[in-house]
Amino acid sequence: MAMLHDAWLIARKDLKLEIRSRVALNQVVPFALLVLVLFAFALDPDRGLLEKATPGLYWIAVLFSGLLAMQRSFAVEAADGVTDALRLSGLAPAGIYLGKTLSVAVQLLVLEVLLGVGVAVLYGTSITGWLLLLATIVVATAAISTAGTLFGVVAAGLRVRETLLPLLLLPVLAPVLIGSTRAFEAALSGTPSEGWPWVGLMSVFAAVYVVAGIFGFGPLMEES
């Protein structure tokens, strides 16, 4: 129980930080929308490719802008010896991990909603299969944030962290990209039964990373 309480404290702290600093709102969200516009430049909007490729483009945009949010989640701890303060705070490392995961997940959900509106408006994608879409968003967000937070702390505090995190995280998230894209395709094409196995696979992924994070975060915190 103490772990969940600590998680709540950390998540609240991180989200309060984001609300007050507005970095996510002023920089990450515009970046996400920029990616959508860049895709339109790359794939001529008149050829109907954008609508066909919406699921893939959507999740690529989520991954790239989500990377920025994850980088930030650990960048805010790097200044002023906050890492040491966290370690001295007596909060359970597993709680810190879950809290950071939760705050990243909340930011990702906001991004995903905005990007969803973005593709519906900009790419003219008609949205169907709501139940599968929502389930996919929930488990994919859980998978991205649990793995992202764990690899975030692996890269934290290093001079090369900005370049190391994408190299470590993106290959690991490849199954999530495949799964979420296929599930979205299934939902949008009106064959949701093809999408549910992917939701299951991504749930397994998220479960593996929650366990790895809960046990691995403590040892990693000690040294960073």
């Binding site: 764990l150 090369v160 290959p171 690991v172 199954p175 495949i178 790895a212």
Partner: protein
Amino acid sequence: MTTETAGPFEASERGPTSTGSRTTMILGIVTLLALGVLVLFGLILSPADENQGDAVRIMYVHVPSATLSYVGCFMTAIGSAVYLWRKSQWWDLVAYASAEVAALFTAFTLVTGMLWGRPTWGVFWVWDARLTSEAMLMLLLLGYLAVRGLAADYQVRAKRAAIVGLLLVPNVFIVRQSVQWWRTLHQKPTLTLAGAHIQGLMLFSLFTGFVAITLAFVWMVIHRFRVAWLEEQVDAEGLDVAIAERRAEGVAS
């Protein structure tokens, strides 16, 4: 041949003092002989395939090295787990050595696979489940090796690498599963490898390939491990020498 020395930060740990020993030399000679036998059977004695012609000979090195790339990955995960459990530098370096050799074998598998693909399928690359997951394995290993190459304290680097190394196995499983579904849900498997119906001399050549390539793998891991171990010794010794010099300065003045 090997006189033993203590490890840099755990007095109980012992390791090699040179890059090779009599045993590894014998192993090396046996490996070379096995590779010679493989060349003999693979290129000369075994027949060409009815459909694929001489291109099938690539199989004798391609299939064993693909298998060993996964074995190396498992060894890295095991080494990482034992490192986290016992804080043993020996196991940490086993993980490192296996990962590096596994990356080499993965690259070799990809290159031989592409060379095999060109004559048989007409293209270097197809988005087949096996090819794609091997490529993803390469990227995962490169991520692990990037953590190994960090300019940080030994303990910091080893711990972070061990977490990444330990996660290699679940990652490889999930990637393989997802890539398999990805390919089979949307299209029929585009190819079946020649493995299904081989016999006689071809089967024996493949067996020779497994023996020779496994020996080469073991030889490389052992030597990579010994070099890595000696590197750490030199680092630790360099620090000891520097400390001793500083102390001597203090006494002299």
